[in-house]
């Protein structure tokens, strides 16, 4: 068990260091949420004037959505690095060593979680700068971050599972493009639930992205309904556990195919 933890940390360090060696990645991952927040914030600013929207300021409404969306998209592409490792023989090199098998995926998930936390913090601060208000305070920010990171971990595990099964970047790109944006729009990231078409509301009920946004937004509101926050957090935890289990199944399939 202790080797599993230390091996995971070695792999996490490796992925983090490699990320921070790519200035382009740092720049884009910093700039992208800014663009989303400012662009969508300006584009949909007057949406709150629609009767029944239920929020006073769109930037208040949007900020938790952008936090969740950033973690979702980061996680959705997590499998790309694994495909690279598979093609280069890096995974096989560690499978021949005593390295803990779980650490090969867990290292990527922990790295994703740490990066997700940093990004969430940046967006929250940025939201403040452009006028967002978080009456829920620190507790709400923590709840939002936990939900976004749980979602990211689950989606990251799925992404790595797909990488192990397909082993092709083209497949990964196609699946991510096909899934990520629709999942975002089938949630209340941009639009109040009550104003979505009926069928979309029904779909959103089963959408983990929506669970994370709802819980995060509720946490930041004044006088949060903590029962709602914790229930969504619980569902996200189940989602993450199931996805991680699926990823370990995919790993077995890969090992059998060698």
């Amino acid at each position: 068990m202790t080797t599993a933890v230390s091996d995971t940390w070695f792999m996490t360090q490796r992925h983090l260091r490699n990320l921070f060696r790519q200035p382009a990645w740092i720049l884009i991952s910093l700039v992208q949420p800014v663009v989303w927040l400012l662009l969508y914030g300006a584009l949909f600013r007057r949406i709150v004037e629609i009767p029944g929207f239920g929020a006073g300021s769109y930037i208040d409404f949007l900020t938790p959505g952008i936090v969740v969306m950033t973690c979702l998209f980061g996680a959705g592409w997590s499998g790309m690095g694994l495909i690279d490792d598979l093609n280069r023989g890096v995974v096989d090199r560690f499978l021949v060593s005593p390295a803990s098998r779980g650490s090969l995926i867990a290292g990527r998930l922990v790295q994703g979680a740490l990066v997700g936390m940093i990004q969430s913090a940046i967006i929250v601060v940025l939201g403040l700068l452009v006028g967002a208000d978080y009456p829920g305070g620190i507790g709400g920010i923590v709840a939002l971050t936990i939900c976004a990171v749980l979602l990211g971990t689950g989606v990251g595990a799925l992404s790595n599972g797909i990488a192990l099964l397909s082993r092709r970047e083209e497949t990964m790109i196609a699946v991510s493009n096909f899934v990520l944006l629709p999942l975002t729009f089938l949630s209340s990231v941009f639009m109040a639930q009550t104003l979505m078409p009926g069928w979309m509301q029904s779909v959103a009920k089963y959408n983990p992205v929506d669970w994370a946004v709802q819980a995060g937004r509720e946490g930041l509101a004044s006088g949060p309904d903590w029962a709602l926050v914790f229930s969504r957090m619980g569902w996200l935890l189940v989602f993450t556990v199931v996805c991680t289990w699926l990823a370990t199944r995919a790993f077995r399939v890969y090992q059998k195919s060698i």
């Binding site: 490699n18 790519q22 280069r88 096989d92 021949v96 005593p98 060698i258």
Partner: protein, 322 residues
């Protein structure tokens, strides 16, 4: 003493009934270089994958460093170093970082970790490049670092899967020196796969020739070559002589055997090639067949392969690629 590597009747089938291995058996004594020679797709890499615990056989058993590869994979992993055909290095990390990470997953820590990495970097002539990311390395440097990574935890048995494929001639000779030194001075048992005949001939103490998932011959390079009686004589003919003319000519030279007549060439063996050549030339001339060139050669592994696999090595290699 027990064999460092032993395999009996290994069978591996992949999805779609592809039989990659069809009963491979081999044994390597400690401190020796064992060569696994065969064309692409013969089953060399699959054998290495099973012996290094990466892949499980469908049938048969194998042990490495005294441990069973299926029942005691954790013990095997600690005892072996493996350099796969695909490098397995992280190109975004420096040479030193790759070595350090490798050492860490084997449980090495602290000063011992750093000094072992430095020792290997110096020894493979990578000291100056240690702080550069591997993506900037040449093919030869990467391959050296691959081997260094495989040696990081001081294994007893080292697997090298086609260590010189894709290297330029200079880097290849460098690698050969290194392999000889490892087996000689450090007493490592090395299993080397290659599809270069001269590499197996020059490096391996014993070798197994594999073809289509089977070991077709095994022995020392000299034993294998010794089984072929006599020298090879190859005569290139001018023009397109009639088959009958060539055969009539050969019938006059009783020393020849294993004769093969092709459109513009004649191949045969003779116990003493140098003595048979004048008779062959005289006989061909008497039949009016013109000769372009004649070569006499001692048996090579190429001939051994031809004999056991029933086809020329280059042909088998091309076949696998198509």
């Amino acid at each position: 003493m027990d064999n460092a590597i032993e395999a009996r009747g290994l069978v591996k089938t992949y999805r779609g009934d592809v039989r990659a291995l069809d009963g491979v058996s081999l044994a390597a004594a400690p401190g020796t270089v064992f060569g696994l020679l065969g064309p692409n797709g013969a089953g060399k890499s699959t054998t290495v994958k099973i012996l290094t615990t990466l892949s499980r056989p469908n049938a048969g058993e194998a042990s490495v460093a005294g441990f069973d590869v299926v029942r005691q994979p954790a013990k095997v992993r600690l005892a072996i170093g493996a350099v796969a055909q695909k490098s397995g290095l992280d190109p975004q990390m420096t040479g030193r970082e790759n070595l350090i990470l490798q050492g860490r997953v084997y449980g090495m820590r602290g000063a011992a970790l750093g000094s072992r990495a430095q020792e290997l970097l110096d020894r493979f002539g990578l000291g100056d490049a240690a702080g550069r990311t591997v993506r900037t390395y040449s093919g030869g440097m990467q391959r050296k670092l691959d081997v260094a990574v495989g040696l990081m935890h001081r294994p007893q048995v080292l697997f090298l899967d086609e260590p010189t494929t894709g290297l330029d001639p200079e880097a290849r000779v460098d690698m050969w020196h290194e392999i000889r030194r490892l087996a000689g001075e450090e007493g490592l048992t090395i299993l080397l796969t290659t599809h270069y005949l001269e590499e197996a001939d020059g490096l391996a103490h014993r070798l197994a020739i594999v073809d289509r998932g089977k070991v077709v011959a095994t022995g020392t390079p000299d034993e294998l070559k010794g089984e072929l009686r006599g020298d090879a004589i190859a005569v290139d003919l001018e023009g397109e002589p009639l088959d009958g003319e060539v055969r009539r000519a050969i019938a006059r030279v009783p020393e020849l055997y294993d004769v093969a007549v092709e459109a513009r060439a004649l191949r045969a063996r003779a116990d003493n090639g140098a003595r048979a050549v004048p008779a062959v030339l005289a006989a061909l001339e008497a039949e009016g067949v013109k000769v372009a060139s004649v070569t006499v050669s001692r048996p090579s592994l190429d001939d051994v392969y031809l004999r056991y696999a029933g086809r020329a090595f280059n042909e088998a290699d091309k076949e696998a690629k198509t």
